[in-house]
Symmetry: C2
Subunit: 196 residues, 2 copies
């Protein structure tokens, strides 16, 4: 069997996950096969199974990795002694940077999570719900301190997260806007819309 070549600092499993994310994003999880993935990695299909149990396991690893990164950033942000606007700005900037730097994985976690099996599916949805609740709590605190306008926290979170998710279309489009302009202008729009 062909030996899998690995990038520096990247284990064979990491490489499979990375190539899997790219494949699922372009082809869709359902349409992508382990044979396609083997071609991407440059090995025979059976040798993939030395490193990963199934296509579904790759999806689980991607979704839980992305969820863990967002949760870690949120927990760090919550601890900071910042006002609510600075906290929300930090979170939104992190979302934008994840979209810019880990696009394949974030796209797959956003679009293909529904194909996970139980108990992973429910666990993932609970993590997402908890993330939204914690973000709502930051916004509620900002409203109480009269830092933010009186906007329903759920509506604000929906607006913020939908806007950053829209960066999927920026990636697809051929617009020559730098990541920096995009991040700064989206932040300006979304944060000044929140503050009083």
């Amino acid at each position: 069997m062909t030996k899998i070549k690995t990038a520096k600092n990247s284990s064979k499993k990491d490489l499979i996950i990375q190539k899997g994310a790219g494949l699922f994003r372009t082809k869709g999880f359902m349409a992508a096969s382990m044979r396609d993935l083997a071609d991407e990695v440059g090995v025979e299909a059976p040798s993939l199974y030395n490193h990963i149990g199934s296509k579904g396991e790759i999806l689980q690893v991607i979704c839980f990795k992305v969820a863990a990164e967002f949760t870690a950033q949120l927990e760090e942000t919550e601890k900071e002694n910042w006002n609510a606007a600075t906290k929300i700005e930090a979170l939104i900037r992190f979302h934008i940077s994840m979209m810019a730097n880990n696009f394949d994985e974030v796209f797959v976690a956003n679009n293909d999570w529904k194909y996970m099996d139980e108990p992973f599916l429910t666990n993932f949805l609970n993590q997402r719900r908890s993330y939204e609740k914690k973000m709502m709590a930051i916004i509620e605190a900002g409203i109480k301190k009269k830092e933010f306008k009186n906007i329903h926290p759920y509506v604000a979170v929906l607006t913020l997260l939908s806007a950053v998710r829209g960066l999927e279309y920026w990636h697809k489009s051929k617009k020559s806007i730098s990541a920096k302009v995009l991040e700064d202008d989206m932040i300006k729009h979304l944060i000044t819309g929140l503050i009083k």
Copy 2:
């Protein structure tokens, strides 16, 4: 063959389109069959073809109907002697009301347009591009008049349209937020974020 029952003011073809939109939204265009649709409409599958040529034709009708409604609203808004903020607010309120009142059709036009055949696909994408350009022109005019902050017009349009598209998730969630609160608060967030 069973005669198709029609709602008042709704031709048989209209009924098929309406039921088709609901079916495509819940099942997805690719997975939905003409047999499923016949069950929804309450007729035998072959009798559908008295009114519509194919599943693809239903998708085309839905996508072009939605595009025409958005374009008509945009053209009316452009003619008004309003400032840029009022124009953008009117457009965004229209998007939100379309999401609230024609959810199935808007959802299908947003998600399943890619399954249209040519020349419909290219025509639809051109209409969408033209819509975005006209919205960008309104924002550019607002920036020139110092009514809006200096935000890249493409980024502003992406933020606005992504936020309203996020209402897909509101529909899916069980949140008990009234359409009125949602519309007013989202407008507050998005419009005050734009104006100086």
